[in-house]
């Protein structure tokens, strides 16, 4: 039997390590393509400054990349170490995209990143450019396979339960990889990475412009980043909308939590701009609503309605009642494999097996589950509303803020006014943390909104965890906390230091005004 403290601690550990890993991944996704774009300009125009630009940003890329790789190892381990039932129950499906990620994407990224770093003197410019593109392609393909795996958890496609092996098994590989959730989420997430890189490059460049250092490099980098950023931000928002549209059908409970939708209402439905949802009272406090907007956003029409939490709980209750015979049939099949009666009973209730597991948390012998236990389990079927509601709003507001910032940046750049707008350059520096926060908020919406399931509607979170002791979990949490805190301090220190030092000017290729400005900045600083 599962110790529920261990489940909570396992969730905490997974969330912390995944959120931490996800600080580094988006920058890798985006910066790898920005590097490829910069180097393309170098190879096609032959201007040395672009080689210098590429090499400078690749230094920062590598500092970030190392920690992304290191913390990615944790993710590879953690399914097995902490979510062992999850791993054996859906490993037949979920393991495949993870293995293919290694085979097709990570090998490419990791092998060529070595050549990208060490190969400048040994490769012809065209060859090196190809290597840089392969790094970008590898990292983005890696995201694709990870998100295909994640989409299976969000919207299980192409799988069925096999009573002979007591686990979920693949029924269609193409259904798995062409899941609509995977498509929308991959584009949304990878482009969010491009936004992250654009804000980062623009912010660091703005800092140089403010300090009047490395002006040529900073000006050109800023321009490329801004162009990249405005397109990417528009893309993220469009795809975010598409993802919401897909998700609304696949996970009505997540949608209801995102919108704080306790009661089912008639279309056209109002949108809660701000509200303070209370799980206990099943109501919002201090809601500020905008009429019509929810129907428009979610169903792309004025007549579409969305089920509220009251209705979703009723549906869950019915499905739990139907899932109970599925669980009892499975227990019979485990004791006596191939039993015809049990198999027939199982097949009649198979689609609600996961809901049967949901009540097993309260009634280990599900056949004796009481009405009260079923009601509690049905209430569990709704995620915690407030964190999902607020994470969603934080993500959207930050996304819109970045769009406004990039539009303004494009206008100023086109009018050649950026360097005179010192307030805007300062703003650009302060924008650097914004995409990182938005990315984290997005992860929270997707994963907290999926609760109480690890695989939506199929496998509850409470069953998925490994059967460890609390002591083991405290040990591992403490270890991760100590290591990861040290790592981030070291990483931030090296990042800031490398940025402060700026590009290597000893190559003798920098323009004179940059060198002069540099020297002056050097004197000014002491």
């Amino acid at each position: 039997m599962h110790d529920l403290h261990v489940v909570d601690l396992s969730r905490l550990q997974f969330a912390l390590t995944a959120l931490y890993h996800y600080l580094f991944v988006p920058l890798t996704l985006g910066l790898s393509f920005l590097l490829a774009a910069m180097e393309t300009v170098y190879v096609t125009t032959g201007k040395e400054i672009y080689r210098e630009i590429t090499q400078f940003w690749s230094k920062l890329f590598l500092i970030n990349f190392a920690l992304g790789v290191a913390t990615g190892l944790t993710m590879e381990f953690e399914f097995g170490t902490n979510w062992s039932f999850y791993s054996s129950f859906v490993g037949d499906i979920f393991g495949a995209p993870l293995a293919i990620e290694g085979l097709m994407a990570f090998f490419m990224e990791a092998t060529f990143v070595g050549l990208m770093t060490f190969g400048w003197a040994r490769l012809r410019p065209g060859q090196h450019l190809a290597v840089t593109y392969l790094v970008a392609l590898g990292s983005n393909l890696s995201a694709l396979w990870i998100l295909i795996a994640n989409s299976f958890m969000q919207m299980p496609h192409g799988a069925h339960f096999n009573p002979a092996t007591m686990r979920m098994e693949l029924s269609s590989f193409t259904d798995l990889i062409f899941s609509p959730d995977a498509q929308a989420k991959f584009v949304h997430t990878s482009i969010a990475g491009y936004v992250t890189a654009a804000v980062f490059v623009a912010g660091v460049s703005a800092w140089y412009l403010l300090k009047r250092r490395h002006m040529d490099l900073a000006r050109r980098s800023f321009r490329m980043a801004v162009l990249f950023g405005v397109l990417a931000t528009a893309g993220v928002i469009t795809l975010g909308d598409a993802l919401g549209f897909v998700g609304a059908q696949a996970q009505p409970t997540k949608l209801a939590a995102m919108e704080g939708l306790w009661k089912t209402e008639q279309a056209p439905m109002p949108f809660n701009l701000i509200a303070f949802p209370s799980q206990q009272e099943q109501a919002n406090h201090g809601a500020i609503q905008v009429p019509y907007v929810l129907s428009l956003l979610v169903t792309h029409s004025l007549t579409g309605a969305v089920p509220g939490i009251d209705q979703l709980e009723q549906r869950a209750t019915a499905r739990i009642r139907d899932g109970i015979p599925a669980v009892t049939a499975l227990q019979a099949l485990s004791a006596k494999p191939g039993d015809a009666d049990a198999l027939a009973q199982f097949q009649a209730h198979e689609q609600d097996l996961g809901y049967g597991f949901l009540v097993q948390r309260y009634a280990p012998d599900v056949s004796k589950a009481t009405g009260a236990q079923i009601a509690t389990a049905a209430r569990d079927a709704i995620p915690q509303v407030a964190p999902v509601f607020w994470s969603f709003r934080v993500m959207v507001v930050l996304g819109l803020a970045m769009l406004a910032y990039f539009v303004l940046a494009v206008i100023y750049t086109m009018r050649n006014r950026v360097e005179r707008k010192r307030w805007f350059l300062r703003l650009a520096v302060w924008m650097i943390p914004v995409p990182f926060l938005a990315n984290e908020a997005g992860w929270l919406v997707a994963e907290l909104g999926r609760q109480p399931w690890t695989v939506y509607g199929v496998l509850p979170t409470w069953m998925s965890a490994s059967t460890h002791s609390v002591g083991y979990m405290v040990f591992s949490l403490a270890g991760f906390a100590a290591l990861y805190t040290t790592f981030i301090v070291v990483e931030m220190y090296l990042m800031v230091r490398t940025i402060r030092r700026g590009p290597d000017e000893h190559a003798g290729t920098a323009s004179n005004d940059t060198l002069l400005a540099d020297r002056m900045a050097g004197y000014a600083e002491g």
Partner: protein, 377 residues
């Protein structure tokens, strides 16, 4: 033979290939980490050693990631049971391994001697600990591990952390470490000259000599060890759970496959040949050939272990009947088929571009090169 059974056997072999890739490619880099402080006495010398594997360690590490991913995809019950059962050991392995990317990438960013010294220790730990754990994990398979399943296949591990470090497991861990030291040392020999080359040569010979002794001792040990035998239950190619078989224990049972198929004795033969010739060839400074002989030694060692255990993957010492085998722990036919397709296309591709990367970066690394290249580690 049923197609599913063929797929299961194919994936058992492929798992061996991937573990071999892990042992050879990751083992070589970890060996360099383990011997870094010895082959390099000065900072410049250590940087030479680091930059020999510098362009490749990240790509090589993917063999490890892929090994984990392939176990997950092809034998999910093994991945789930072993990773959660070996929790503390897995965390030590993980924590030591995640120091490595940072060690390579961050070590030479600052010139402070204390900073570099800390990272040199980190690289040593992250080279040594994972190789010992890798070997010890394989060693534990021979004794079996205490775990059992509930009706729905929730696994529970009932052993202790220290129980995983029994004498035979430690022997296997040391064998794995010596082979990795050998591979790391011949890699350093291949890329370095003069004093670094000479120190690496000493270590390569020590690594090979120790490996020969440990491999022989391990063989005698297994000879008298209690092994596992499947006596009843659904066979190959039948969808099943680990709750449906009967398993007996028998002294010397791990040699049953060798008695049934004497050709298998070639595997330990290959292992010894790789080590003995590797010892001689490294002594003769033919480092490139010595590297290939080291890979051959790994093939022999892992092949011997796999052949002895087959069809067992993870025997249960507390409930032997619930031992995990190739037949009851594998993925479904469809998953194995798709994965085989991807592997058949991508593993040759990976080997091809990895070889190209080594070809591009071929030649000796000198202290002057390291200082001149601002991208060097």
């Amino acid at each position: 033979m049923e197609l599913y059974a063929i797929l299961q056997c194919a994936w058992w072999l492929l798992l061996g290939v991937l573990l071999l890739g892990l042992a050879v490619m990751v083992g070589m880099d970890m060996g360099v980490g383990s011997i870094l402080r010895y082959v390099g006495r000065t900072d410049a010398e250590r940087r030479v050693a680091l930059n020999i594997v510098g362009p490749h360690w990240d790509g090589n590490q993917v063999w490890f990631v892929l090994g984990g991913g392939a176990v997950f995809a092809a034998f999910p019950l093994i991945y789930a049971t072993a990773f959660s059962g070996f929790y503390v050991v897995m965390l030590l392995l993980l924590w030591s391994m995640i120091l490595r990317p940072l060690g390579f990438e961050y070590r030479s960013k600052l010139s402070s001697a204390a900073w570099r010294n800390v990272w040199d220790w980190a690289l040593l730990v992250s080279g040594l600990v994972p190789m010992v754990v890798f070997g010890a994990a394989i060693g534990n398979l021979f004794h079996g591990v205490p775990f059992h399943f509930s009706w729905n296949l929730t696994s529970t591990y009932t052993g202790s952390f220290l129980g995983l470090f029994n004498p035979f497991a430690i022997l296997c861990g040391l064998l794995s470490l010596s082979l990795s030291v050998f591979m790391g040392a011949v890699t350093v020999m291949n890329g370095a000259t003069d004093v670094i080359h000479e120190r690496a040569r000493t270590l390569a010979r020590a690594g090979a000599a120790l490996a020969i002794v440990l491999f022989a001792a391990g063989g005698f040990w297994v000879h008298g060890m209690t092994g596992y035998v499947r006596v009843a239950g659904p066979g190959a190619g039948v969808a099943q759970t680990p709750l449906q078989q009967q398993v007996m224990l028998g002294a010397g049972a791990w040699l049953a496959n060798f008695h049934a198929h004497p050709l298998l004795w070639a595997l330990p033969g290959v292992g010894f040949a790789g080590m003995l010739l590797g010892l001689a060839v490294a002594g003769a400074r033919r480092s490139h050939l010595a590297w290939w002989l080291g890979a051959l030694a790994w093939l022999g060692v892992l092949g011997t272990a796999g052949a002895a255990l087959f069809p067992f993957l993870l025997p249960s010492s507390s409930v032997p009947a619930q031992s995990l085998t190739v037949w009851n722990a594998s993925s479904s036919r469809l998953t194995l088929t798709w994965m085989l397709g991807f592997t058949a296309v991508f593993v040759p591709l990976v080997i091809w571009y990895t070889s190209w990367a080594f070809y591009v970066m071929r030649g000796k690394v000198s202290a002057a090169d390291v200082v001149a290249n601002e991208h060097a580690y």
